[in-house]
């Protein structure tokens, strides 16, 4: 079931900035999309508007082509999974999951046996079969989240919406669960949208990533597309570690520190004027002797962890800046990375964006 959002705007109180600022979004049936952005960018508000838990000031929401803007949440057929699970504490796992079926009007309500069977099926799907009689307070965070998911899935929703579903769990559990969610999605093919501020999560799991900032969509696309062609310095920064080098565009090249003129990578056009050259830590090459197109920099700090050598360098053209590089752990020897040693670093892969601030 596709989701279409058109011209959506939501403001909390007069005079406040818009939480969602004229957003247009289109998601195809079966897509698994991530709304990614820093706190306060409007991603949760957008999700809640799609769910019907908030009403927009202007704009429309369509689910499977049907205009649901004025339809209340309980009639939209959305499954919503909350950040803190929102399980009904006074009900058992089975009762929680069965809830959406039990509250149906008599006409569409399944029989008690049918309900029990559906509940059992979906609990097996989330690998919690045998937990029917337990209560939420007896479950771990990861288990509670799976119950919340089961509860949302049992009503066979048209779309599945998840609000920072793994936010309250520790890193290990988070990684496991998001893989598992991806597998689940591959099995069920329900259009799913989840909200997160963790780019690793989004990149790992989603088909399509929508990066939001201050209520607007900065860029939307596959992980690959966002990696290959980020639309702005913000997106580049948000999707991974990013070194920002102030530069000037002139004659179609990027002049850094007055000494280094970089030819643009294929397909990129560099406009005249102040720009930022953004380079990821692993996209530098390092040389101990003079090299073409390289910046001179002095080593400030060197650490090895995660199998990588991480260097902190101060470039000669502006010692107040810090460059962060990630290299293979054995790329340089101890003397070369001692504090104060001089290295030549060349950005191999980079993006130029007009400077906004």
């Amino acid at each position: 079931m596709s989701i279409e959002v058109h011209g959506l705007e939501k403001r909390y109180g007069h005079g406040h900035a818009a939480a969602v600022d004229r957003v247009d979004l289109s998601l195809a049936t079966g897509e698994f999309a991530a709304l990614l952005g820093p706190s306060g960018c409007g991603k949760t508000t957008l999700l809640r508007v799609i769910a019907g838990l908030e009403t927009p000031d202007t704009g429309t929401v369509r689910i499977a082509g049907e205009d649901v803007t004025d339809v209340p949440a309980r009639e939209r057929g959305v499954g919503f999974v909350f950040q803190h699970y929102a399980l009904f504490r006074h009900m058992s796992v089975a009762e929680n999951v069965a809830f959406g079926l039990r509250v149906r009007p008599r006409a569409t309500r399944p029989t008690r046996d049918a309900i029990r069977e559906r509940v059992a099926q979906v609990l097996e799907l989330v690998q919690l079969d045998g937990f029917e009689r337990r209560y939420p307070e007896q479950l771990s965070g990861g288990q509670r989240q799976r119950v919340a998911l089961a509860r949302a899935l049992v009503i066979e929703p048209r779309v599945l919406l998840l609000d920072e579903p793994f936010g309250a769990l520790d890193a290990e559990v988070r990684r496991e669960l998001r893989r598992w969610l991806r597998h689940l999605h591959d099995r069920l093919h329900i259009t799913s949208v989840f909200v997160t501020h963790d780019q690793e999560e989004a990149l790992d799991v989603a088909d399509r990533i929508v990066v939001l900032r201050a209520g607007r969509i900065e860029q939307a696309g596959t992980a690959d597309a966002l990696e290959r062609a980020p639309a702005s310095a913000f997106v580049h920064r948000f999707l991974g570690e990013s070194n920002r080098l102030p530069a000037t565009g002139r004659d179609g090249r990027a002049w850094i520190g007055g000494e280094l003129a970089l030819e643009p990578p294929a397909g990129q056009r560099i406009a005249d004027g102040p720009i930022d050259v953004c380079v990821r830590p692993h996209d530098f090459s390092v040389h101990t002797g003079r090299a073409a197109n390289a910046l001179v920099a002095e080593v400030r700090d060197a650490r090895t962890w995660g199998g990588r050598l991480r260097l902190e360098l101060a470039p000669a053209f502006d010692p107040a800046l810090t460059l962060e590089l990630a290299l293979d752990a054995r790329a340089l020897d101890a003397a070369q990375i001692a504090r104060g040693a001089q290295l030549y670093v060349r950005p191999e892969r980079w993006f130029a964006f007009a400077r906004t601030t």
């Binding site: 838990l53 908030e54 009403t55 949440a73």
Partner: protein, 280 residues
């Protein structure tokens, strides 16, 4: 919020029902006290209040409160310190015990003192010998009032001090502060609103207590009548205006109590918000 709560008509209906209930059960009784008191005009109202026996009752009420409240205040502080900051066997039993006067009917609270100090009581003969009058005299009233208001301060402070834990006090002790200093400089500022609230409730109840005092007082006009008892006497004499006039004093006291309570809660909440902001 709007996804779930009643909209439109349902909401209005509920609010209206609540308002009707409040009007009948809370506002009307309060209002009728003042309207009846003033029904004959200001003159009789003031006369009733300034009447000799009424003033004597007022004085007695204030005296009793002035003794009972501080006594229970000291007790409340001591008890909550012992209970909230330490572990010892029987702690829960002690907490339940402190709640006892709450569960006891005021009449029984008075009765027990009659049994102790009345003419036929345990100490009756001894008191009679020494010409000390407790029952049907002021000391009895003080004792009964103290009994009834016994838990108020403690009940406020105990959960408050328990919730705040011992960290602050332990830090102070490790820095060399003695018992009193720890209490005065560390604990007291943290519980001041709860303490104030408890004292206010205690005072209001001490001044308004009726059942217990009625049993021990002997109803001697001008001598052993507190304000509430005086109200009863006037009412039983069908002197409605005077009865309600004196009652209006007590009602004003109640309103003042509510006002102070609201203010205290407001300040306590403000303090909480400030403290959260200051935490790193």
């Amino acid at each position: 919020m709007s996804a779930v709560a009643q909209r439109g008509a349902g909401r209005l209906l509920l609010i209206a029902a609540a308002l009707v209930f409040v009007a009948v059960f809370l506002v009307a009784p309060l209002a009728i006290v003042f309207t009846t008191a003033l029904s004959a005009g200001f003159g009789p109202y003031l006369a009733a209040i300034r009447e000799r026996e009424a003033l004597a009752a007022l004085q007695l009420t204030l005296t009793v409160a002035a003794i009972a409240v501080p006594a229970n205040l000291v007790f409340g502080v001591a008890a909550s310190w012992a209970i909230a900051k330490f572990e010892f066997p029987g702690r829960q039993a002690l907490v339940t015990f402190i709640d006892l006067p709450f569960a006891v009917s005021p009449v029984i609270s008075g009765l027990v003192y009659v049994l102790l100090f009345g003419a036929h009581g345990w100490f009756g003969p001894w008191l009679a010998e020494h010409e000390i009058r407790v029952i049907f005299a002021v000391p009895g009233i003080v004792l009964a009032t103290t009994f009834v208001t016994f838990p108020f301060v403690a009940r406020e402070l105990i959960p408050l001090m328990q919730a705040q834990g011992r960290d602050d006090e332990e830090a102070a002790t490790s820095l060399g502060a003695g018992g009193w200093q720890v209490f005065r400089r560390v604990t007291l500022p943290n519980v001041k609103w709860g303490l104030l609230y408890g004292v206010i409730l205690c005072t209001a109840r001490a001044m308004g207590e009726f059942g217990a005092v009625s049993v021990v007082s002997g109803h001697i006009r001008g001598k052993t009548n507190t304000l509430p008892l005086h109200v009863e006497i006037l009412y039983n004499e069908y002197n409605a205006v005077a009865a309600f006039a004196v009652a209006s004093l007590l009602a004003l006291l109640a309103l003042a109590t509510l006002a102070v309570k609201t203010w205290v809660e407001h300040r306590a909440a403000a303090d909480r918000v400030a403290a959260q902001g200051a935490r790193p």
